[in-house]
């Protein structure tokens, strides 16, 4: 197994700042916008963006929730191992809100398809956008594309994109892992 650095810590930080600015362009004061981190790995990116928007760009009261999609997945009883659920924490109703889904890697698009179904349990959003740090293009199974992307990556199916976060994995970096 070998791995190659796709983004180092500095590049991750530059991408985060750019994504934050792009969000501000479209959402201004975030008064009618909620950020939703997709469990399990999207929540770190979502927390980072919220912190960045609040400290660096002085936007107050950004609403952030975590959405777990386990019970909405289309591979229940298809994958060999059982699906592990994570905590959903949405302390608000998304009715008439602009929702931004936040996930670390967009690959087949199936997680986002599940998230689109899951979010309906919390109301009818005005619109939903998608932000991902890494967009693995040419690997989609569904017609789903991100509205905001940190970096586009061409990776073949045997390869894996690994996103590491300082608070969880000890460093900020993105790797391409080959088996």
């Amino acid at each position: 197994m070998s791995q190659k650095v796709l983004l180092n810590a500095t590049e991750v930080h530059i991408a985060l700042h750019r994504l934050a600015c792009q969000l501000i362009e479209n959402h201004d004061t975030f008064s009618n916008t909620v950020l939703v981190g997709i469990q399990p790995r999207g929540i770190y990116l979502a927390e980072r963006l919220k912190e960045l928007l609040e400290t660096e760009y002085k936007i107050k009261n950004i609403q952030l929730g975590y959405l777990d999609i386990t019970f909405y997945r289309d591979d229940f009883r298809r994958s060999g191992k059982p699906l592990e659920a994570n905590t959903t924490r949405l302390n608000f109703v998304v009715d008439e809100k602009k929702v931004v889904f936040i996930d670390d890697v967009l690959y087949t698009g199936r997680s986002i398809r599940s998230a689109l179904t899951a979010i309906q349990s919390f109301g009818r959003p005005l619109e939903i956008e998608l932000l991902t740090l890494i967009d693995r293009r040419f690997s989609r199974h569904l017609p789903i594309q991100p509205d905001y992307r940190g970096r586009q990556v061409d990776a073949i199916n045997g390869e894996k994109v690994k996103v590491c976060w300082e608070e969880q994995d000890g460093e900020d970096a993105v790797y391409l892992v080959k088996n």
Binding site: D68, F71, R77, P82, E84, T87, A118, S121, F122
Partner: protein, 312 residues
């Protein structure tokens, strides 16, 4: 994530502590789901579940049915009163007829102990025991221990007394197994005639003085007096039972500490507990009912994830 060590839930006796913890963790997620504006997930949309109730039940049947519907399973209901069982059909024939309609899981209540185990040996579907005679009622024990965990933070190290008709109670037996597997200490308390012989062999102590038992415990699970199962008189009168083993507010308030009061329902108000106890803050009877749906969703979800798909 680990998975359940069993393909059926026939009794607490047959599952491990790890299984119980897995069910609890999964139930935590479902408890969040059933408090959402839209309380439904599509997980079991390709699963059909038959609820076979060969014995009367209201809350268990409703609780299972709600759990199944919240998981988007297709549900068929059957109760013995209105069926061919009355015409002499055997259990296996009845169930096989239902299974030939492509049913994946069976939730069954039956008056005979071991009916679930028997069925699991003979038919190809995942069985959930919803009560078999005076043997086991595993989902009730799971929701009881889950409710204790929710109220007191943990089950391990807690002292629980089960009061009342232990002899006829499947709830008592399943609770004893579940509590012990989770590290709690259990006592039983009731009239000698309603305590099974040799129950000490299960590692539980017998206490015949209710006040002493309540002063010892953190949690009191007050069982229902099951008049319908009593073919002979086990105590002189209901009034005498209430005087010795009924829990009232003045007894509850006179204890050294605040205990948690549970009841599996349906309550005989004024017999095993008085109304003011049942409706007090120390009682978690309605929490038990709410947790029942979440726990049953967890059990069904975890068992369903072990059913292989035909086409694969």
């Amino acid at each position: 994530m680990s998975e359940l060590s069993v393909n059926h839930l026939l009794g607490i006796k047959y599952i491990t502590e790890k299984d119980i913890q897995l069910i609890f963790e999964t139930a935590d997620h479902f408890k969040e789901v059933i408090n959402r504006p839209i309380k439904k997930v599509p997980s079991l949309r390709d699963i059909t579940i038959a609820n076979l109730f060969f014995e009367n039940s209201t809350r268990t049947r409703l609780s299972f049915e709600l759990a199944e519907k919240r998981l988007s399973a297709d549900v068929i209901n059957f109760s013995a009163g209105s069926s061919s069982v009355k015409k002499g059909e055997t259990l296996i024939d009845t169930v096989n007829n239902i299974l030939s309609m492509k049913v994946d899981m069976v939730v069954m209540r039956h008056p005979n102990p071991g009916a679930g185990v028997f069925l699991a040996k003979h038919i190809n579907a995942s069985i959930v025991n919803a009560g078999d005679g005076a043997h086991e009622h595993p989902t009730q024990a799971l929701l009881d221990t889950y409710s204790i965990r929710e109220r007191l933070g943990d089950v391990a190290g807690k002292k629980v007394v089960i009061v009342g008709d232990i002899l006829h109670s499947r709830v008592a037996l399943s609770n004893i197994f579940a509590l012990q597997k989770l590290g709690a200490t259990v006592k039983v308390c009731g009239p000698k005639t309603l305590i099974p012989k040799h129950i000490e062999k299960l590692g539980v102590e017998v206490e015949t003085n209710l006040r002493a038992a309540l002063n010892w415990c953190d949690v009191a699970n007050m069982l229902r007096v099951q008049n319908e199962r009593m073919d002979i008189s086990y105590f002189p009168s209901t009034r005498e039972y209430t005087q010795q083993f009924g829990l009232n507010k003045s007894l509850l308030d006179s204890l050294d500490k605040e205990i948690v009061v549970m009841h599996p329902g349906p309550i005989n108000r004024g017999v095993e507990i008085t109304s003011d106890v049942a409706d007090s803050k120390q009682a978690i009877i309605l929490e038990q009912v709410q947790n029942g749906v979440a726990v049953r969703m967890a059990v069904l979800y975890l068992l369903a994830s072990k059913i292989m798909r035909d086409e694969d």
